[in-house]
């Protein structure tokens, strides 16, 4: 690992001020530290945001669940409030990686990183999330812009993620057997306003599968999905799963999700 300057920010303002194009925020460190150790990334400044209490914790109102950016996966998984309001979201957190990762990794880090195989981005899409940063609010469908890319600016900090509580929802994932990231993860959510099907793992970035959502809004049952065609174009292919298999798993896991709703 190359040497770097370590800063522990006391508040969001200070953290934002310290940030540059050659810095990273340190939340759980579950992505940043391994990439530094492997020599894949190096930064001049590491800005620790773990001590900023204001951006931690879970709040539930009548219609939304708001989770502070540095809230750990384990906290979401174990939260009675989340389990009650959006059980599928707690279950998603419970299924991330392994206990070590869940004990350190954070929701803000996960979303900022936008790994194409990460779980939380599908929740953001399915649950019409609003990403609160230190200077604006961004709708989830405008937030994830590409592979490992978001609309965040370099000094911009996620403070919280606000999820809409759906009528029904379920997240079903085919985990990569090695890393436990999603080979395919499908988040189906039925809101008063409509249906979203957030799909992760399958393409270069998370997306809302409009075909599946369309079929489900006509008939919210797993059989409605049977006739939806999923093209392999743009679908990832690697040693763990070919594009064809992944495309089929989108359907298989969407069905599982609908059945579990």
């Amino acid at each position: 690992m190359k040497t770097f300057n370590y800063h522990s920010a006391k508040d969001v303002k200070e953290a934002s001020k310290l940030a540059s194009s050659n810095s990273a925020f340190l939340a759980g460190g579950m992505t940043t530290l391994p990439s530094m150790k492997l020599g894949l990334a190096s930064y001049k400044d590491i800005i620790d945001i773990k001590r900023i209490k204001k951006i931690s914790g879970i709040k539930v109102s009548g219609k939304t669940v708001t989770i502070g950016a540095i809230t750990k996966h384990v906290e979401v998984a174990n939260s009675k409030d989340v389990k009650k309001a959006i059980p599928s979201l707690a279950a998603l957190a419970e299924g991330i990686g392994d206990p070590q990762v869940r004990n350190r990794g954070t929701i803000g880090g996960s979303i900022a990183n936008n790994d194409p195989a990460a779980d939380y981005p599908s929740a953001c899409i399915a649950l019409n999330a609003i990403i609160h940063t230190n200077n604006r609010k961004i709708n989830a469908d405008k937030f994830f812009t590409g592979m490992f890319e978001t609309s965040l600016k370099s000094s911009e900090i996620i403070e919280a993620i606000e999820f809409n509580i759906p009528q029904k929802s379920s997240y079903q994932k085919l985990p990569n057997p090695a890393s436990r990231y999603a080979i395919v993860g499908v988040y189906v959510a039925k809101h008063k306003t409509g249906i979203n099907v957030g799909v992760t793992g399958a393409k270069s970035s998370v997306y809302n599968d409009k075909n599946l959502a369309g079929a489900l809004s006509k008939n919210f049952s797993s059989s409605a999905i049977d006739n939806v065609k999923i093209s392999t174009s743009g679908i990832n292919s690697d040693i763990h799963a070919s594009a064809e298999y992944r495309a089929n798993m989108i359907k298989a896991f969407a069905k599982k999700a609908v059945d579990a709703c």
């Binding site: 690992m1 040497t3 492997l38 085919l174 990569n176 057997p177 090695a178 890393s179 040693i239 763990h240 799963a241 070919s242 298999y245 089929n248 798993m249 298989a252 896991f253 069905k255 599982k256």
Partner: protein, 792 residues
């Protein structure tokens, strides 16, 4: 005193391992040490045109940078193959030179070409980035199936062929096949595995400039052998100036049998730079450079009668050696594989033909089970296929072909001294509730799932073994073990063993044996191993041989102690030695009811006299002290055996396989410590299941390892495994006084075919290759659905 052999004694090792107090190689730091970073080839095959270290040498903290030129100039020898194998045509095997640092050419990604020594690890890494190696990249031979038709990667080794070996009789097999009702044919790819010891390899070298002694702390399964090779072949230092210590070692599974480039290079360099050196592999280096396992392509055929009797067997195998032939690399696919190819069955005729070839991949060597898992996989898969094609129950077909009398002369090499295969399979059948399978299958089907059951019966030849036999077969050394048992004057005992423990719990098992032999409480017995300066020699821990060979040396040394003790006790008791019995730690003369404890005898042996009188407890001519040593060379291999049965449930929508039930019934002869043996079985099963369901090392066409991290190389995890249902039967080994057979590899040997037989059973006999990953199984399910629809 109750016998300790057979009881669940808690491990003496647990406290230090479970509280983080183990002392591993990387825990060792020597004052003034430098840090080594190896510069490795990023190419699978290339010529080295030039290495420019000038810029790196000026980098901060750099002590020295050494290359293949330096090591060649100092005439340091390279790595060697430990077994010489002859081809069917009588020619000797062909092995390339494997210098510790490549000088002219590199042959796999990770092949080391230079090494940087610096004051800190970061400085070493920074300097390593400045070393410029100019390569002429050549087309790599990465694919095993094409290797024999590709350009030779080593000069003079045509077709990349190390040997083309035959065991058995082609003519007899032909005759048997001519008589058969049916020939069952099977093509198998035995997938390549990466051993993944929890502790990465490491070495710490301390050269003493005054005594000129090198101490090499290293992560080895056999420090004595490492010293021998480093001295005799490497020429690093004479044996008396080279001490090799393997302290706590966090797993090896065969990958730490070998002496590696880094140990030779750092030992040599420490003397050259006159500084201690520390090197610890990063996980990526482990993936790239630890020896890998398995990697065979096999075509097998089994000749059968319509009622399921086996008439003959043959296999044609291509085995991948990787870039170089290492210590057990050449014997693993031959004498550790071929003799077990006919499995636990009466097989009137058989042959095993193996072509071992070089490729531009990491060297392949022994991995837990070494050869026997590959053999068992082949025979147990083809036996299942035969059962299916003949419409016979898989248990019935096995029972039909089991030997019933022991000793059993197995077809190709072994004389199996003892066993009862029928009892083992019957017990497994009962424990697994084999008869209840149909109902469970139905229940799964009601939920839209497929259920399959798999059976395997195996035997293995381990406890390797009689030196004259292995040396006749080409082994470069004898495979005995030795021990020294030392009483302290105050009655505690130190047992020195040449067998190394890197997870096997020798400190407990060996203490149990010695406690029983000497009648000394186990708390008072310490087992010392892993240091060439402490105690006797050993040839290493592998092939489930520590207890069956090393343990017996301890028993025999203890017996010598008791014999000497008897003579001393007789003198002390003023009785005839023939009247002295030894029981529970006491020398007893029954008729006069006199006794001395072994502690009293030990004390007297070291303090042989009394005040005011010239009187010795030692008989005339007997030396003081109570220390004995013994070398044990068994008269035969040992032959653990057993039957395993498992059930899987498959989700046809996703192809995911859930291992639902696993029953293992093993015959390890006498079991010294059931707790430890169960642990060995559990670990072995996990590895065998890993091979069946998830592990798979893959190289791309250019020879890049694409599974070089845990993000891509799938290890089995606890939640992939069911609770194991273990049972034991016991027929004692007749070739050692304890009746022990060895247990370290059995789980790995049996589990892979058991699981695959179950998966293929669930798929209605549809063959799929190892490992049964979700996508492969999903594809097979789709085809199954299609063919079922057609049939309906």
């Amino acid at each position: 005193m109750a016998s300790l052999v057979g009881s669940r004694v808690e491990r003496k090792e647990d406290k230090r391992f479970l509280t983080g107090k183990g002392r591993y190689t990387s825990d060792i730091n020597i004052a003034n040490q430098t840090y080594a970073i190896f510069i490795r080839s990023p190419h699978a095959r290339a010529k080295i045109k030039k290495i420019d270290t000038s810029k790196a040498l000026k980098s901060s903290g750099v002590v020295d940078i050494l290359t293949g030129e330096h090591i060649a100039k100092d005439k340091i020898g390279g790595l060697i193959a430990g077994w010489a194998i002859r081809s069917e045509d009588g020619s000797e095997m062909k092995c390339p030179a494997n210098p510790p640092l490549a000088k002219d050419s590199v042959n796999f990604v990770g092949d080391p070409v230079a090494v940087v020594f610096a004051e800190t690890l970061d400085e070493a890494k920074a300097a390593a980035e400045l070393v410029k190696v100019d390569y002429k990249v050549l087309k790599a031979v990465a694919n095993l199936s094409d290797a024999m038709n590709s350009e030779a990667i080593h000069d003079g080794i045509e077709k990349n062929l190390c040997y083309d070996w035959l065991l058995g009789d082609r003519q007899k097999v032909k005759e048997a096949f001519d008589k058969a009702d049916k020939i069952i044919k099977l093509d198998i790819i035995n997938n390549r595995l990466i051993p993944n010891a929890m502790e990465p390899r490491a070495c710490v070298i301390d050269y003493n400039t005054a005594s000129e002694e090198i101490t090499c702390y290293t992560t080895s399964q056999n420090p004595h052998l490492s010293r021998l090779i480093m001295s005799a072949f490497g020429g690093v230092a004479p044996e008396n100036k080279l001490r090799v210590v393997a302290p706590d070692v966090g797993g090896g599974f065969g990958s730490k049998i070998n002496l590696y480039n880094e140990e030779i290079v750092c030992s040599w360099a420490s003397k050259k730079i006159e500084r201690p050196i520390k090197w610890v592999a990063e996980r990526t280096e482990s993936f790239l450079t630890d020896t890998h396992g398995r990697d065979h392509i096999t075509h097998a055929e089994l000749a059968v009668t319509n009622d399921g009797k086996f008439l003959g067997f043959k296999n044609e195998t291509i085995a991948n050696l990787g870039a170089y032939a290492r210590v057990f690399g050449t014997v693993t696919p031959t004498y550790l594989f071929g003799p077990c190819a006919t499995g636990v069955y009466i097989m009137p005729a058989a042959y095993s033909n193996v072509k071992a070839v070089y490729t531009n991949t990491a060297p392949v060597d022994a991995y837990r089970g070494a050869g026997r898992p590959e053999a068992t996989y082949t025979i147990e898969r083809i036996v299942d296929k035969a059962a299916m094609e003949l419409g016979i129950d898989p248990i019935e077909i096995r029972m039909k072909n089991f030997p019933t009398e022991f000793p059993f002369k197995q077809t190709l090499v072994h004389q199996v001294d003892s066993g009862d295969y029928i009892a083992g399979l019957n017990k497994a059948k009962e424990m697994a509730d084999y008869d209840g399978f149909a109902a469970r299958k139905k229940e799964s089907e009601s939920r839209g799932k497929l259920r399959g059951i798999g059976v395997t019966s195996y035997f293995e030849a381990c406890g390797i073994a009689p030196s004259p036999v292995v040396m006749m077969l080409g082994c470069g050394v004898g495979l005995w073990e030795s021990a020294e048992v030392r009483f302290n004057p105050t009655g505690q005992v130190t047992v020195y063993t040449g067998s190394h423990s890197h997870g096997q719990s020798h400190q407990t098992t060996f203490a149990q044996i010695a406690a029983d032999e000497l009648g000394v409480p186990i708390e008072n017995i310490d087992v010392v191993h892993g240091d060439t300066d402490k105690g006797t020699f050993g040839m290493g821990t592998y092939g489930s041989r520590s207890l069956t060979v090393g343990g017996i040396a301890i028993v025999n040394a203890c017996k010598k102690i008791v014999n000497k003790g008897k003579k001393i006790a007789a003198k002390m008791l003023e009785e005839n030695p023939d009247d002295v019995d030894f029981k529970n730690g006491e020398f007893v003369v029954t008729k006069s009811n006199k006794k001395k404890t072994i502690g009293e005898v030990a004390f007297a042996s070291y303090l042989p006299g009394v005040r005011d009188e010239v009187k010795s407890p030692l008989p005339e001519g007997e030396e003081p002290g109570l220390i004995e040593s013994s070398f044990f060379d068994p008269s035969n291999f040992s032959f653990p055996a057993g039957s395993h049965i498992c059930e899987v449930e498959i989700d046809p929508e996703t192809g995911r396989v859930k291992l639902d039930k696993y029953t293992a019934v093993d015959d390890f002869g006498t079991i010294v410590n059931p707790l430890i043996v169960e642990g060995q079985v559990h670990g072995g099963l996990a590895q065998g299941i890993g091979q069946a369901l998830c592990e798979n090392a893959q190289y791309d066409e250019s020879g890049q390892l694409i599974t070089a991290s845990y993000m891509d190389y799938t290890m089995p995890r606890a939640d992939d495994l069911p609770d194991f249902n273990l049972g034991f039967t016991c027929t004692k080994a007749t070739t050692n006084p304890l009746g022990v057979k060895g247990c370290g590899e059995a789980g790995t040997i049996a589990a892979t075919p058991t699981v695959m037989n179950a998966v293929i059973n669930a798929l209605g006999g549809k063959e799929i290759s190892l490992p049964a990953t979700a996508e492969k199984v999903w594809n097979a399910c789709k085809e199954l659905k299609k063919s079922n629809a057609k049939a309906a």
